[in-house]
């Protein structure tokens, strides 16, 4: 959960990008890293395999400015998407303040999206939480690909009651990346206002 340091006048929040393997979680972080001002970002760390698949996590610290005299820092993490890395996903999800669920819009990844979403729900439940309590936004990624499914179909499966804000994106070109991040950051900070309840 968020760490509020009255002494350093800082609010620190942990945001996690979740989703199936190769859906574009790391690509989201790389785009943010490349576009954000030098002064607002720290070093990006990727613990990846030699073939650039995320092994443990990617990490990107952002410092976005002040709210009422308090510096707001967001620590962005990705989880490894591949199914067999579930133990690592559970660890990274610990203490999360907000989740971006990245869905791969390609038709052949439809089942993988559903499986990963169920996995997110299960892993949150294991730490005594759920999507009612943890702010979550959805990102339909890879909209630029020809085999992308129509958004209403994806929404019908992943966000049927429309409770979560959702965004179309193409992380490789950056479309929708910042909109997604902003939406989640906003939810997390508003949640903080309510004291995380």
């Amino acid at each position: 959960m968020a760490f509020i340091n009255y002494s350093a006048r800082e609010i620190n929040c942990k945001l996690v990008y979740y989703g199936a393997g190769l859906c574009g979680k790391t690509t989201n972080l790389k785009f943010i890293y490349n576009r954000i001002a030098e002064s607002a970002k720290g070093k990006m760390i990727s613990l990846a395999t030699e073939s650039e698949r995320t092994l443990f996590f990617d990490f990107l610290p952002l410092s976005l400015g002040e709210i009422r005299g308090y510096k707001t820092r967001f620590h962005l993490y990705t989880v490894p998407g591949q199914v067999f890395y579930d133990a690592s996903r559970k660890l990274i999800l610990k203490g999360v303040d907000g989740v971006v669920f990245v869905a791969d819009s390609q038709e052949e990844r439809f089942e993988a999206n559903l499986e990963s979403f169920d996995n997110l729900v299960d892993n949150l439940r294991e730490q005594g939480s759920d999507l009612e309590r943890i702010p979550c936004v959805l990102q339909y990624n890879k909209r630029d690909l020809p085999n992308a499914m129509p958004v209403p179909e994806l929404r019908a499966s992943l966000n049927p009651d429309g409770k979560m804000s959702d965004f179309e994106a193409s992380a490789a070109t950056g479309k929708g990346v910042f909109e997604t991040l902003k939406a989640l950051a906003k939810l997390v900070l508003l949640d903080l206002r309510r004291g995380g309840k």
């Binding site: 760490f3 709210i67 203490g95 206002r193 309840k197």
Partner: protein, 165 residues
């Protein structure tokens, strides 16, 4: 596993924590000390910090503790509470304090593992006492009506301003 409560650190507690950390730097002849929340947030530091990317360090230390904690569970252990990494110039001594805080000591040839272990034991107890109080305070804070000023007054406009450029 239950949800860990929010960590809220007030100035007075932060000062007490830094005092213990600074004393540990001296007593253990350490290069630097870091206190990191298990979620990867840096809580306090002391010593020679120049040239160290403290934010990255905090996140990687937490990842390390999380991974070895997972290993411990596989073996039926609750946790591996002490870690030691030996390098050519620098060594890392890592211990868990009050279950949620990671105490990292970086030391070089000016000190020794034996001395660090001895000093960490005493400082760890002191830190554990302080953090127990910090956690209790944070819980009490949340038992009431959420957080007080200035967080209760954060407006949507405040948040929009963060992203204005």
């Amino acid at each position: 596993m239950s949800l860990t409560p929010q960590l809220v650190l007030f100035e007075e507690d932060h000062r007490r924590i830094v005092e213990v950390a600074e004393r540990l730097v001296r007593d253990a002849n350490a290069k630097a000390i870091f206190l990191v929340d298990k979620n990867g947030q840096l809580v306090a530091d002391a010593g020679e910090l120049k040239g160290i990317d403290t934010t990255s360090l905090a996140s990687l230390v937490a990842g390390n503790i999380a991974a070895t904690g997972g290993l411990a569970k596989i073996l039926g252990e609750e946790e591996f509470p002490i870690h030691f990494h030996q390098g050519e110039r620098y060594n890392l001594h890592i211990t868990l304090v009050a279950q949620r805080i990671i105490l990292v000591v970086i030391f070089d040839e000016r000190s020794s593992l034996g001395l660090v272990r001895l000093r960490v034991k005493k400082a760890g107890q002191r830190l554990a006492e302080i953090f127990e109080q910090v956690f209790k305070k944070a819980e009490a804070e949340f038992d009431e009506e959420g957080l007080g000023a200035p967080f209760a007054e954060i407006s949507e406009q405040d948040i929009d301003n963060l992203f204005s450029d």
